[in-house]
């Protein structure tokens, strides 16, 4: 089933310790999964003086990294793959030599974004960062308010279901909440995110189905992978994939960007939750099945 892994791997970006930057820790270098310019984790952060070691998944300039003589490497732990960011299966063998430079630590992409946010805050503290900055507290407060609003919105629509999806030219992928901490959070806070029946065995982040089976899941609201979401993408797929609008929510235009696999901080999560809450409040719980 290798080809499925290949088709889905682009949907999984990895972020490498940039959560620490928001606490004022300046790493000597970073490696990201997409151009630094578009990586949502790095938005609004001051990157001057930080060497970029790679801007795409699976490629890290280890020679350059070695010249920076790091004491510690920080990368998320991915339980589905049992590896830290940058060391997963599929990463360049040369890039994997990174692990020889220094010990690696990181927080698990496990049960909740809250664990990631707390984990990186604690890690930052243990590395000597000041975590009592009023901005940190303000972000946490905003996050808590956002969660309350989210819970209120989902409670008002008990029948509302959602599915996290990533359509592509050749097939349709439905995200498996089990390996997507933010989706587990949404479920915890009252949004019925559909669990796919048969996640792909080799790459259980997704269940991949053919376009013939596009109507298999009928949520009321589509959470569209943020890496490929644009305001017009739903209409484009409706035009080019004959069966896309057989997903009733797609036909109704009930699609919203889903911050898939990148959140690490209270601040970012708060902003995304607010957007989702608006979408949930506007959604019709009788669109899907």
């Amino acid at each position: 089933m290798h080809e499925r892994a290949a088709s889905s791997s682009r949907h999984i970006p990895r972020l490498n310790g940039s959560a620490l930057i928001s606490f004022g820790i300046k790493p000597v270098g970073i490696y990201t999964d997409e151009p630094v310019k578009t990586d949502p984790n790095l938005k609004d952060l001051d990157l001057t003086g930080i060497t970029v070691l790679g801007e795409e998944w699976g490629k890290i300039d280890v020679e350059k990294a070695a010249s920076l003589a790091p004491d510690l490497i920080v990368g998320d732990w991915w339980p589905a793959e049992k590896a830290y960011s940058g060391l997963e299966e599929g990463v360049d063998e040369k890039s994997k030599k990174l692990k020889e430079l220094a010990p690696i630590v990181g927080i698990s992409q496990g049960e909740s974004i809250v664990d990631l946010a707390e984990g990186y805050e604690n890690l930052a503290k243990s590395l000597g960062a000041k975590v009592d900055d009023p901005k940190v507290a303000a972000n946490k407060q905003r996050f808590e308010a956002a969660v309350t609003a989210f819970k209120t919105a989902t409670a008002a629509k008990p029948g509302l279901t959602a599915a996290a999806m990533a359509p592509s030219d050749e097939n349709l992928s439905i995200a498996n909440p089990k390996y997507a901490p933010e989706l587990l959070d949404f479920q915890r806070w009252g949004l019925k995110v559909i669990n796919p029946e048969r996640p792909d065995p080799s790459f259980p982040y997704w269940e991949t189905i053919s376009w013939e089976n596009a109507d298999k899941y009928q949520p009321d609201l589509i959470l569209w992978d943020s890496r490929v979401f644009t305001p017009t993408v739903n209409a484009e797929y409706g035009k080019k994939q004959p069966t896309w609008f057989k997903v009733k929510a797609a036909k109704a235009g009930a699609a919203v960007s889903w911050p898939g696999y990148w959140l690490h901080t209270y601040g970012d999560f708060a902003v995304e939750l607010e957007k989702l809450t608006t979408a949930i409040s506007a959604a019709d719980e009788n669109v899907g099945n």
Binding site: E207, S210, T243
Partner: protein, 341 residues
């Protein structure tokens, strides 16, 4: 003792049988897939064309029918292109791949993704087509240099050189752009999935024209198969024949690869099967290949769709698994080297 006319009658009835098999394969390709649809619904959808708005009729009419038609055309094109190439180059291992066509198309697709920022299979078609044509022209021009013209050996060498050149160019770009790699990786397997009416309509004229012209190539290929000197002695204009044959191949394999990505083995294996069934006469090998190849392609595609449900296995993967042992068998048991009559 068989006379010439009974041999011809037997070969012709073989064609009729293949036509019937192709019809069966096409029917299977429309009736079967990763979604299970009742036969009665399939027939109703086909009868009402345009469909009744249910997903079963949309899948039948808008997904499976164009996919099947594309499979027939692309299969036929690859089979015929392989047969022509094996004849022109007198190389039993020739197919579109070793003539640089796949690598040219891939390089062009990568160029479209990285440099022009174009994404989506509906746009790749034209870049792949241009790349395939470009590569064929390049191979032929390189092989034509020198007094003796495009001899089989020079064609094979030029094809290998151009393939290597484009291949390293593609790798060089893809190494620095993971998105291009991911998209190319998908394109490069060869698949009939996600290709609908617009792509079918886009490439069909080229494929139909190429197929029509190719059926007239049999005599010329028979001549070339005798060897260059003999062909010339028989009054054939060798260089012109070769150039024309290459033009047809560029059109057929280029458009096929553009539509579906490089589909392996069909062009290589099918002409050998055809030769096994109908003998060494290219006037028969070409139509036999034209029918056999889509049968193989459609059946492999159906297998990948049914076995992979609710997803799909790409036909390129299925073919690689199925055809590799067949090819080994041909190498082992048939007298592969005897491409000529």
């Amino acid at each position: 003792m068989t006379t010439t006319s009974t041999v011809a009658a037997r070969r012709a009835s073989g064609l009729v049988v293949l036509c019937a098999l192709l019809a069966v394969a096409a029917f299977l390709s429309i009736a079967q897939g990763s979604r299970s649809i009742d036969l009665s619904e399939v027939l109703r959808a086909l009868g009402s064309l345009g469909g009744d708005g249910t997903i079963n009729s949309t899948v039948t009419v808008e997904l499976r029918v164009p996919r099947t038609l594309l499979g027939i055309l692309v299969g036929a094109a690859l089979g015929v292109a392989g047969a022509i190439l094996q004849g022109v180059t007198r190389n039993p291992l020739a197919d579109a791949g070793i003539m640089g066509i796949n690598s040219g198309a891939a390089a062009s697709v990568v160029f479209a993704i990285t440099v022009l920022g174009i994404h989506g299979v509906e746009f790749y078609v034209w870049f792949a087509f241009a790349g395939a044509i470009g590569a064929t022209v390049l191979v032929y021009s390189i092989a034509s240099m020198g007094r003796e013209g495009a001899t089989p050996v020079k064609l094979a060498l030029a094809g290998a050189a151009v393939t290597a050149g484009f291949g390293s160019l593609t790798s060089a770009i893809v190494m620095t752009d993971i998105d291009a790699l991911n998209e190319l990786r998908f394109w490069q397997v060869g698949s009939l999935a996600g290709r609908y009416a617009p792509i079918l309509i886009g490439v069909a004229p080229f494929l139909l024209a190429g197929l029509a012209v190719s059926l007239g190539c049999g005599r010329a290929l028979n001549g070339l198969a005798l060897g260059e000197d003999l062909a010339r002695g028989l009054g054939q204009r060798v260089a012109l024949t070769r150039a024309a044959a290459f033009g047809v191949v560029a059109l057929l394999a280029g458009a096929a690869t553009a539509a579906c990505g490089p589909i392996v083995f069909i062009g290589l294996v099918v002409p050998h099967l055809a030769r096994f069934l109908c003998g060494p006469d290219y006037r028969w090998i070409l139509p036999y290949s034209m029918l056999l190849a889509p049968i193989v392609l459609l059946l492999a595609d159906v297998l990948g769709r049914v076995a992979g449900a609710p997803g799909e296995l790409q036909v390129g993967v299925v073919l690689a698994v199925l055809c590799a042992p067949v090819f080994v068998g041909i190498v082992r048991y048939a007298r592969l080297a005897e491409v000529g009559p």
